[in-house]
Amino acid sequence: MTENSKPQKSRITFISRAAPYGQNKANLCLDMALASAVFEQDVNYIFFGDGVYQILKGQDGSAIESKTLGNALETLELYGIEKIYADRQSLEERDISESELLSGMQIVDSDSITKIIESSDTVFNL
């Protein structure tokens, strides 16, 4: 943080909309959220659209010589990020059932996401 930073708490929401591995958007979004948590901001993390593919259980990045993004997501909680949401309709459209998901996600309707965005100071959406 620069010298002019004051101890201030901002509500920052991340909407992670990209599938894992094919692009690096999922990683960029995760890195931003972890940094926000390190600097003790109030973080919301939302999996939306193709982003819900990130939270499928049983990923194995080593098959394509990559880090396993599913493991990285489990670190969200380690970093104190507790407000982790997945959009119900995005899951349904992709035929993904709750039993296939990593634990710790709260499945919500789009109305809830609208409210989270409304209550946020800053939104990152990628």
Binding site: I15, F48, S110, I113, I117, S119, S120, V123, N125
Partner: protein, 96 residues
């Protein structure tokens, strides 16, 4: 606490459709870059028009030869007004 949503990719990406799922009434939508091709879809925009103001970036539409094809519901603005819109709304959500 209204929000400005910028949409910058072509309609094939379904970004507007995704945005509409979580947009709040009173928010505004601004089409920029390849997102401006959405500005031609009068039918698609009709339903949104009542709840949300819709803008299109004039420079991008001029370049693409679609300025005269814009639906009536789309207000054409320049980059200076884009900056002003950011001030008039509490936050900006970028769809790309």
């Amino acid at each position: 606490m209204s929000c400005l949503h910028t949409i910058s990719k072509s309609p094939g990406t379904q970004l507007l459709e995704s945005c509409l799922k979580i947009i709040a009434s009173g928010d505004a939508i601004l089409f920029i870059e390849d997102g401006t091709y959405y500005a031609n879809s009068a039918r698609k925009l009709e339903a949104i028009d009542k709840a949300c103001k819709i803008y299109g970036l004039r420079e991008d539409m001029l370049a693409r030869a679609i300025l005269t094809k814009a639906a009536d519901s789309v207000e054409l603005i320049d980059t200076a007004r884009f900056v002003k819109l950011c001030c008039e709304h509490d936050k900006i959500v970028s769809w790309f």
